[in-house]
Symmetry: C2
Subunit: 228 residues, 2 copies
C-alpha cells in the first residue's frame, strides 16, 4: 500500500530500514505485498534495504521525520505543505532529501527523530489522530505531487549541507568523547542528552566544511586533555 | 476505512447509497468494518442509508462528484483544494454541501456525475491514477481539515441555490415532457441528451425561485400543446 501510494504521486525511491519480517519477504507475504502494490511492483522490487536509519539516510542532505503526535523535542516542525515545500526547494538546488516514516502502530521513536533535520506533521483531528503508514505516505505524496504541478520551489543557498553520514559520524565522535569525560552523568541520561545535542546541531544546518571545522575543534580539545 | 479517514479529519455525516451487501451488513462483515473503523464507530453507526443518489442529495444545495479520470462531460472541474474551498465557502454562507464518492473499482458513473454541480479531482500521476475509495476520502478530508485550520472561506452570494431535490424534480419533469414529444429521438440517446441538459442547468446555479420560474415556463409550453 505504501508503494501504491508512492506510485500515485510519482515517487520512486523506497528505502526500507530493518523490516520486521525481513526482505524480500517469504513468498506468501510477498505475494500479498505485490497484490496490494497493484502496479507499483517496480517500486517494491527496487526497494533498498538498510539495517539502520543512519545508513538509509547516509547519502542525503536533508531528512524530514513524519510524526502525528507532538514531541517534546526542540526541533523545527513543518506542516506537510511547508515541509514538502522546503524539501522540494532543497532538491531544486541539487540536494538529496528523504522523508522518514515510522513503523505501523508505534511510529518513529525519539532516537529516529533525533537523526532528522526537522519534523513534518499533518493537521489532523486531535480526537482522532491515528493515521496508518500507507495513509501518511499518501498524504505526503499528495502534497509532493500537487506542489510539482502548482508551485515553484524556492532557490535555497548555494552551500550544500553536509551529507547525513558526515553529520552522523560527527555525532558519534562527539558523543563518544563526551562519554569518556562522563559528561552524561548517569549512563541512562545519555540518550536524552545526546538527542538534545543532535537537535541543536541540526538547527545549525552545518555544511561539510562546518562539520570538519567543529570536528577539528573537538579533536583539539581532546588532544589537550590527553597529551599522548 | 472510509469512516476512519473521516474521523481523522473531523467529518461526521456519512450517507450510503445502495450498498452492494446491504446495510447494516451481516454480522461478520460488519465486525470487520467496525474494526477497520478503529474508533470511528460513531460515524459508521450514524451512517444513513439511501436507495439512490437523488435521495441522498435531496436536502443539499451543492454537490461535488469526485473522479480520478477525465470525463467528457462539460462540467466545472475543481482540483481538490479549490473544490473544498468552494464547498466550505458555501457552507459558511448557510448552504448544505455534499461530496459524492463512487464505489470501489468502477467509480461514479456518468449518470451519478450528472446529478452533481461540479467535479472534484486530484492531481495524480497519470501513469498510476488508481486511488481507492478510502484514500479518496482521506485526501478530500485532509484538504477539508487543512483549510479549516488555515484558510477563511469566502462569503458567497446571499441567494441560496435550490435544494437538489427541487432541481432533480425539475429534471425529471422536463425530461418526461420532452420524452412525450420524442425530443430525444431514439430512446437510447435519452441518457446522453439528459446528461447534457442537466449539466447546462447545473451551470446556471438555479435558486428555488429560478426553478419555479423555469418549471412554470415549461408547464405553459406543455399546456399550449395539450389544450385540455
Amino acid at each position: 500500500m505504501v508503494a501504491r501510494a508512492m506510485g500515485n504521486f510519482a515517487l520512486r525511491d523506497l528505502r526500507l530500514v530493518a523490516p520486521r519480517d525481513g526482505w524480500p519477504q517469504k513468498k506468501k507475504i510477498k505475494k500479498g505485498a505485490m497484490q496490494a502494490a497493484s502496479g507499483a511492483t517496480e517500486i517494491l522490487s527496487g526497494a533498498r534495504l538498510f539495517p539502520t536509519v543512519e545508513e538509509a539516510a547516509a547519502d542525503l542532505h536533508f531528512v524530514l521525520a513524519t510524526t502525528a503526535r507532538q514531541r517534546e523535542m526542540v526541533k523545527t516542525v513543518h506542516l506537510a505543505e511547508d515541509g514538502v515545500f522546503a524539501a522540494r526547494s532543497r532538491m531544486a538546488s541539487g540536494q538529496k532529501v528523504g522523508i522518514l516514516f515510522g513503523p505501523e502502530r508505534t511510529g518513529l521513536d525519539n532516537d529516529d527523530i533525533s537523526l532528522a533535520d526537522a519534523i513534518l506533521t499533518f493537521p489532523v483531528n486531535p480526537a482522532f489522530s491515528s493515521v496508518n503508514l500507507a495513509q501518511a505516505v499518501l498524504l505526503v505524496g499528495y502534497e509532493w505531487f500537487k506542489q510539482g504541478e502548482q508551485r515553484s520551489p524556492m532557490a535555497v543557498g548555494e552551500a550544500l549541507p553536509a551529507k547525513r553520514e558526515t553529520l552522523f559520524a560527527f555525532f558519534a565522535y562527539l558523543e563518544d568523547e563526551l562519554g569518556k569525560l562522563r559528561y552524561f552523568g548517569d549512563e541512562d541520561k545519555r540518550a536524552i542528552i545526546s538527542r538534545n545535542l543532535r537537535n541543536i546541531l541540526h538547527r545549525m544546518e552545518l555544511s561539510e566544511q562546518d562539520v570538519r571545522s567543529l570536528r577539528g575543534a573537538v579533536r583539539a580539545l581532546v588532544r589537550r586533555r590527553d597529551p599522548a
